[in-house]
Amino acid sequence: MRILQLNKSLKFLDDSNNEITLKENIDYIVPEIFLIKINSFGFSKHIVKDDEFKYEERKYKGQDLKRKSVIVFRNGGIGDLMFFFPAVAELKRKYKNSKVVVCCSNKYSDLFLGNDDFDKVIHLPLELEELLKYDYYIQLQGIIEDNKDAETRNAYDLHNERFYVQPDEDNMIPKLFPQKEEINKVEKYIEKDKKNIVIAYAASVPIRSVNPDLYINLIQSLNKQYKDKFNFIIVCTPSQENEAKKILNICDNLTTKIFTGREHKLRELIALVSLSNCVISPDSGLIHIGAAFKKPLIGIYGPFSSMLRMKYYRNAIGLDSKTNCIMGRGEMNCCFQHGEGSCKIARKRAEIYSPCMTLYNIEELIFSLKNLKIIEDEIQ
């Protein structure tokens, strides 16, 4: 992390597509990747301060937080933020009078609504002056991306360690709190006499996504075999919407709906999942939202093992492809690439999807749905 000051304001998109504004003459705490971006914009001449972020004395190392405050900062997606929910809940159980402030991207700050464990949510970029208002800080940047331990240890375990807590297994699942008005807005997607299966069209990057043909085959097969028993809701971002809608042209649109980020906010997605019967998703925020409601989950993984994310989830099945990929290493021979756009091997093969994510077929999904009792014997 660096302390950075510019003499001219700059607005740009970070790697997670969050809009970042650095105002002039203010000290910010930023990840090193921001410097590379700023240089690539030809903006380096406007950097008037670029110091190493130290403040070691304020780093949280398990001190007593009674009547103390701590700021947690993380620039990441939905999962990255939810991984520290159990740790913060445990911290608050341990130190009832403590204050926990989180600093994250504006895009995902609604995740914390209704959650009393967090006293305040502020948006990135983090000003140094803001950080110095609190007794301690917990810096989570790179805890998964730049951490060798993240190749063998579950994300929740890594975060608990950084917070110096160890919640018991009953408290290892993040909690979300949908509001009544949010539920009212999404009830139209749910069919009460059917099993409602929420499917993530894709992960945030192609490297972790499955070919949507897998979903098309699943929907067609289940509709044929179990008529009128299932309602499929495909969740997509605005940029995926046109592609996702093609599913409607192929599948029966009476049983398939598209839930798009263009029409709905994150809070409404949370409400939708709370009403559903099952979630199917590659590694994306949807898996973790489903886990928060203890919904039956099917997680589809390739570049890294489902165990690293789903180990503590209930009633969940992780599908992993163990391949002979040249990029792989470790027990499951995974490449552990998740932030990058697409798989290097896929690019060499002139394909979009990672080879490890294309090995799946509907038999594994149907087997999992039966195991989770979403497909029940009596409806066969």
Partner: protein
Amino acid sequence: MNEEELNLILKKQHLTISQLNDYINTFIEIIIEKGLVSKQEIDQRFQHIFRGTYEIGGDIILTKYNVEENENITVK
């Protein structure tokens, strides 16, 4: 490939990919012959190098996570 041959390779200023391929193949033949690794394992792990393709195969593993039962059950 004995130590002398290896030293000769290491003294080279440049190694073509074709030469590299030959040396690797020689090395692999020796270790298969010595029983250090099976031919099948080599084919599975390095086929993309020797065949010049990026064919990727593997198994799908299903793991059921259910902390209430306090264990992860591999169901397939």
